[in-house]
């Protein structure tokens, strides 16, 4: 019960902080969005040139460093890696494609719901559907094999780079990009963004909060622990949105969203399925990156590169809707997910059914 209380408090703080970040200047229903913010960072670094989504978002560095410092303090920091890194890299790209077709990671999906954006319901159903498919393969022995202890310094590189990104955004040299209009220009002050990221990073590391883990563990083990955190975010963000007068119920004219229900569903189905294969949602990948898990670092790098590809190839949706290229990319993502899931599931690998891990 104590555990559940902690994750409810963590979810509550995340929900309220998300709305506060909007109050301080972030785009509406986007206090936090891991996919959108990594996409903005890709833009800020010049990996794509979409002028409206360029900003090195301090929330991301805060999340990584919050998890880094608390895991050092708790003695949970450990450099590990080597569990199918390149598959994880590509899965990072795939999850990003799904998220930018829907326009949000699972965290923003629930923040959109808490802000009254009914388009997120199609996303939520798709997300659940994607998780369901992923769990089907987990039950058939899907795994990306084990990770290993690696040289200690390997795990420190990513957190240190995040400190470098803070310096970069604060110093604002002319070679990085800042949006002058659009969502990339809507931002809370740097220190507030960073502080919010640090707080959420600590809470998410301590509670293991994971947006995909809630539904997954409920289906797999009837374990409600993570799901409780997921629901707490929705409830507290909803209350805070009402309090600040941000709540706006409806389908039309929702901020940074489109009304194409089918593609909202399919986009989040990709995110749900891909995240189950990765073992955690984009938020969880960032937190693990701060704890020394370099497989998660590779996944985040996949998301960053994916964001560049997505905007350079015109795959991302906008308020006008989904693009033709985005639809084709989504189909490719589903095929990739299907192949990866099938070939890495022990039940389907003919004649190779082994008792993994049995001594």
């Amino acid at each position: 019960m104590k555990e559940k209380k902690e994750i409810i408090i963590a979810g509550g703080v995340i929900g309220i902080l998300s709305v506060l970040l909007v109050y301080f200047g972030n785009p509406a229903n986007m206090g936090f969005c891991i996919a959108c913010f990594i996409r903005d960072i890709a833009g800020g670094l010049g990996l794509h040139r979409a002028p409206v989504v360029q900003y090195i978002r301090p929330e991301i560095m805060g999340l990584v460093l919050g998890a880094f410092f608390i895991s050092l303090k708790n003695k949970e920091f450990e450099s590990r890696g080597g569990s199918s890194p390149f598959i994880r890299f590509v899965l990072g790209i795939v999850v990003m494609v799904g998220a930018l077709i829907f326009l949000g990671c699972p965290l923003r999906m629930v923040l959109r719901l808490a802000g009254g954006d009914l388009n997120s319901i199609a996303g939520l159903v798709g997300f659940g559907f994607g998780i369901f498919i992923g769990v089907y393969f987990l039950n058939n022995g899907f795994n990306l094999k084990r990770n290993y202890k690696i040289v200690k310094t390997e795990g420190y590189v990513f957190p240190v780079i995040n400190i470098g990104l803070i310096v970069l955004v604060a110093a604002a040299p002319s070679f990085i990009f800042f949006s002058e209009s659009g969502p990339g220009a809507a931002k809370a002050p740097i220190l507030i963004s960073l502080a919010a990221g640090l707080i959420v990073g600590v809470l998410a590391q301590k509670t293991r909060l994971c947006m995909v883990g809630g539904t997954r563990d409920m289906i797999l083990f009837k374990d409600t622990y993570l799901l409780v955190g997921f629901i707490a975010i929705i409830i507290f963000a909803f209350i805070a949105n009402i309090g600040f007068g941000f709540f706006k119920l409806g389908l039309e004219n929702q901020p940074v969203a489109h009304t194409d229900g089918l593609w909202n569903f399919l986009g989040m189905a990709i995110v749900g399925w891909g995240s189950v294969l990765l073992g955690g949602c984009p938020l969880r990948q960032l937190i693990l990156s701060g704890e020394g898990n370099t497989d998660s670092v590779v996944t985040v790098m996949g998301m960053l590169v994916g964001a560049g590809i997505i905007h350079n190839f015109g795959l991302a949706s906008s308020a006008e809707g989904v693009t033709q290229n985005g639809k084709i990319a989504a189909i490719i993502c589903f095929v990739f997910l299907g192949i990866i899931s099938y070939v890495n599931s022990e039940s389907f690998a003919k004649g190779k059914i082994t008792e993994k891990g049995m001594i």
């Binding site: 949970e76 797999l220 009837k222 955690g280």
Partner: protein, 68 residues
């Protein structure tokens, strides 16, 4: 008692492997985990499934013993 090694496996594999092992060995199993997250998850799963759980801290790993 059957012993399974979940070292290096990422979420939710340690719990899945535990569940699978318990399906075949309903009396109990021993599970080796190498991190706090897996330890917490496996312990919670075992307790929810009605097992008595004890944990031995060994060099760099935890040995979780689940018995009816």
């Amino acid at each position: 008692m059957v012993r399974i090694d979940t070292c290096g496996m990422s979420c939710p594999q340690p719990v899945l492997m535990t569940k699978k092992a318990l399906d075949k060995n309903t009396g109990g199993v021993e599970i080796i985990v190498d991190n706090q997250v897996a330890k917490g998850n496996v312990e919670r799963f075992l307790k929810n499934s009605g097992y008595k759980v004890s944990v031995e801290e060994q060099e760099e790993v935890f040995l979780i013993i689940a018995e009816r």
